[in-house]
Symmetry: C2
Subunit: 337 residues, 2 copies
């Protein structure tokens, strides 16, 4: 249980930092902790929307509430949405027993949620108008031994790097699973999105024949230019029967990156016996997956898409660099945001 930040929990005592109401955000480091000088917070979209709507778009009031939350809780943990976000900053001090691969001066992004990251704001957020999720900020944050953090690559714009880090578990886990099969067929549902296109690129690098399922002709055309899908089919992944018709062949590995509910049965039917389904979509229903496979007597391994794989951030950046077409997809998406 070391490295998870239990010593930072003020109340209630004995829970994990994410479950805590209040954290101790003191700048004095424990042996395995790291202090980061904060440059910018990226608020979670759901959290920012709630705050903006609550205050009718009054940026000053939104800013005041963010300051009040951080001041009260010792972390930016929206008590209504339960969500946080991430931050960018520069490593200030590294405890002697920290296992994190960072050194003072590294510009980093945190890959763990702000809901469990001790945080102090010292500039009253004067550089922020309260009207966007991007919050310029000065202050400090604490990382634990088991926190995940990534050094920002110098050849990528920070926005692009953050977009890649946001989904970096998908290519890493896809790579690991695909390498467990011999020259497999891999199908990615939602192949034109961020996690989907990186998963396709990772599968292709690992020697797979790749099929993407997308929902529209415009997605198909965009993905075709990226060059990571050997076949692209247009179908609604929620319609199990129609989708499996267009895919033609079952896959050894099916990767679900479609962020809408109801894709579990289609994913199971799209997968061979002894195959694996990796669910990355947060819209996945545990019960629908478990009961679906049972009802279809499908001997498939179903994985909860763990967003953490050691080295996942660096691996995702490497995949992006090696797939210029996917990088172009990401850049188009980031500039549209």
């Amino acid at each position: 249980m070391s490295g998870v930040g239990l010593s930072r929990v003020v109340e209630p005592v004995g829970v994990l930092p994410q479950a805590a109401w209040r954290l101790d955000a003191s700048p004095v480091l424990g042996a395995d902790e790291v202090r980061v000088r904060v440059e910018r917070l990226n608020l979670d979209a759901a959290s920012f929307r709630q705050l903006r709507e609550k205050h009718g778009g009054d940026g000053a009031a939104v800013r005041a509430e963010v300051l009040q939350i951080v001041g009260t809780r010792g972390k930016m943990h929206n008590p209504v949405t339960g969500s946080g976000g991430m931050l960018i900053g520069v490593v200030d001090e590294v405890g002697p027993a920290s296992p994190l691969e960072v050194k003072p001066g590294d510009r980093v992004a945190t890959l763990v949620s702000l809901t469990l990251t001790p945080l102090v704001i010292t500039d009253a957020l004067r550089g922020w108008d309260g009207l966007s999720e991007q919050v310029p900020a000065d202050g400090h944050a604490i990382l634990f031994g088991r926190s995940a953090v990534a050094v920002l690559p110098e050849d990528l714009a920070p926005e692009l790097a953050l977009a890649v880090f946001d989904v970096c578990g998908a290519p890493a886990l896809t790579d690991r699973v695909v390498r467990g099969y011999d020259a497999p067929d891999v199908t990615v549902l939602g192949g034109a999105g961020k996690s989907g296109s990186l998963a396709l690129a990772a599968a292709k690098r690992a020697g797979a024949r790749t099929t993407a399922v997308v929902v529209s002709e415009s997605e198909r055309d965009a993905l075709a230019r990226a060059g990571v899908a050997d076949r692209i089919a247009i179908a609604d992944a929620r319609d199990a029967v129609a989708m499996t018709d267009v895919i033609e062949n079952q896959a050894d590995v099916t990767v679900v990156c479609v962020d809408v509910p109801g894709c579990e049965h289609g994913a199971i039917l799209a997968t061979k016996d002894k195959g694996t389904v990796i669910f990355f979509s947060m819209a996945t229903s545990f019960a629908a997956a478990a009961l679906g496979a049972e009802g279809l007597a499908a001997d498939v391994t179903m994985l909860v898409g763990n967003g953490f794989v050691p080295g996942h951030a660096a691996f995702a950046v490497e995949v992006l660099r090696s797939a210029p077409g996917v990088r172009a997809l990401f850049e188009a998406r980031v500039s549209a945001d």
Copy 2:
């Protein structure tokens, strides 16, 4: 897509049988189908409770509604709860292309839900008072090529066999995962329940050192007599910090059989790096598992507990026969129901 019963779907066309409003329950078999002469339906507990409460405990009205549902939908699929149940019967005819390992005269239990099983009732349920989930019935049901079915073992009472079949995916998948590790430590959360005790017995047979987490002293004492847990700890599996304190050592494989929400983080923390968590509890939150592992930077494989593994029913019966203490736990539970 063969073997899933698409030809039995009447409306809406093009969906899977479970999603259909109405099935064709004609007794004439397709080449890969099997017809079963029905002896008894076991209604799902949630479905029966809803019907009983709706009709204020009037058994005749409950019976009339079950007949009406089956007559209208061609399956016992409660439109309010969305649930079904299972059935016991005798195999009547086996289509020439059926892959199921049954022959005419076999007494079987269906392991797929009644919500996708074509069904005709011919005795107006005259033998049922409408006051229990056990419904003596005459009629026929249809199994598809990909249906799961188990022959009832002659040495087990039908109620005991059904209780074992109900959780038979747990020991089978536990066995498969445990054999992927060398002399592993296995922790089962909720070890005193049906799926938990069979999972422990399966792990022990596969050469694991087993730890059980149970919630009370009475559960501990009952499980100790079963002889399948090398260590038994008492803790609330929802309290991640307290639970990992009492477990002492992390496991290679953690099996979650506790049917309450909020056990995801504890299960992840209870597991070594490169270990596996198998979630069998239907109370598992997909998002809590995915985000929990990410927030804890835990490199664990997380499996959705697929209730289907080839041969799972026979394997569970074999595990039960070889663990008399577990059989006694089951018999006590069945006689208490």
